[in-house]
């Protein structure tokens, strides 16, 4: 069916599809980071409720290291900051992709409007 479309329109459709896939990939990554942020925030909240001399371990890979509240507070806040920055970078990427998508969609509408009527 699409074989009957003019090459320009086929090209625009292919680009739209590619942008959709890029948007999808960014959304998936954003979701993963949001999940990590939620997890880290839950740990931070529990940490803040703990007494200063609480026995706390942190997991890194398959190991668990005994640590202390003040050190962990610092580490987790730093991590949250870093993840917030990554999230903002991704939000900008998403916006850029969305903008390009809308632009292309407009161009496609114009291209389709210029097609000779079917059958007629």
């Amino acid at each position: 069916m699409s074989g009957e479309l003019p090459p320009q329109i086929q090209n625009q459709l292919a680009q739209l599809q590619q942008l959709q896939q890029q948007a999808q990939a960014v959304m998936t990554q954003k979701g993963q980071i949001e999940g990590l942020i939620r997890e880290t925030e839950a740990a931070l909240k529990e940490l803040e409720k703990s007494p200063d001399d609480a026995v706390i371990y942190k997991s890194v890979g398959e190991l668990l290291f005994k640590s202390e509240k003040p050190k962990l507070l610092e580490e987790l806040k730093e991590r949250t900051d870093m993840m917030d920055i990554r999230l903002k970078t991704m939000a900008k990427q998403e916006e850029r992709i969305q903008g390009r998508f809308n632009q292309l969609q407009e161009q496609l509408k114009i291209s389709l409007g210029q097609m000779p009527p079917k059958g007629g």
Copy 2:
């Protein structure tokens, strides 16, 4: 092929498909919560078998906090209650979607019955 169907029927088919996707999404979420409930129940069962002075840690994100049986019993029971409520909310959502699905399916049968015979 569906291009030959009257618009009303195409519309009903699209709605049915959408409802199926919604039902799928609710079922997936239900499955996840059921998994969490099973996990929490296993932890509760193990907790109840433990002596009151048992050494128990709970994991929150990447951290492990030393805790105590009575406190954990309370926390886990509260969590199970919350998840049970979410599960009931979802069961209602599922029912509602199923009801709407059945209704639409009936309407579709009527619409299809009113179609002029093919070929003739």
Copy 3:
């Protein structure tokens, strides 16, 4: 295209597809249990290397319970036995599905052999 096939053959093809999906589901479950068995066996091996008074925790849901080597040895062996039984049950299921698949495939070949030649 399959609309041109006689109903009997269409029916046999649908059954073959269903059996394939069932086989797929059983294989996925088998893979999950095999993964759990491997994990439990690794834990057992590590346990056997540990001194009798080693400090060992076991995780249940989000909790970690302090336990002891002899108790854990017993628990893990019991678990492995249970998973082995489940695995054998699944292997039988798989065989049964495979047998039914082969049988149907033979019947399909016969049905296809009895079809009038195309074009003629």
Copy 4:
């Protein structure tokens, strides 16, 4: 559509598809091992920062074993070495598949060049 292609070309297309699936499978496995290596390297880094008498546990399956820095350093380095070897084996596999893919693609181009022109 592909039913109209000569058998040799159909065969080459099928082989290309199979090679693509093989390449996909190897890439997925490589990604998993790379993830494990990253995890192990993070644990190693944390381990190196720890004092020699640090309290550290390692997880094996559902169990956590109390261990010691020197022993863990050795274990993790050994593991990293093993995973590096597996990664190199996979990189070679990937190369081999890619080489075979390029070769087949060239052969396909030649086969397609020898096809009689469509329509005429």
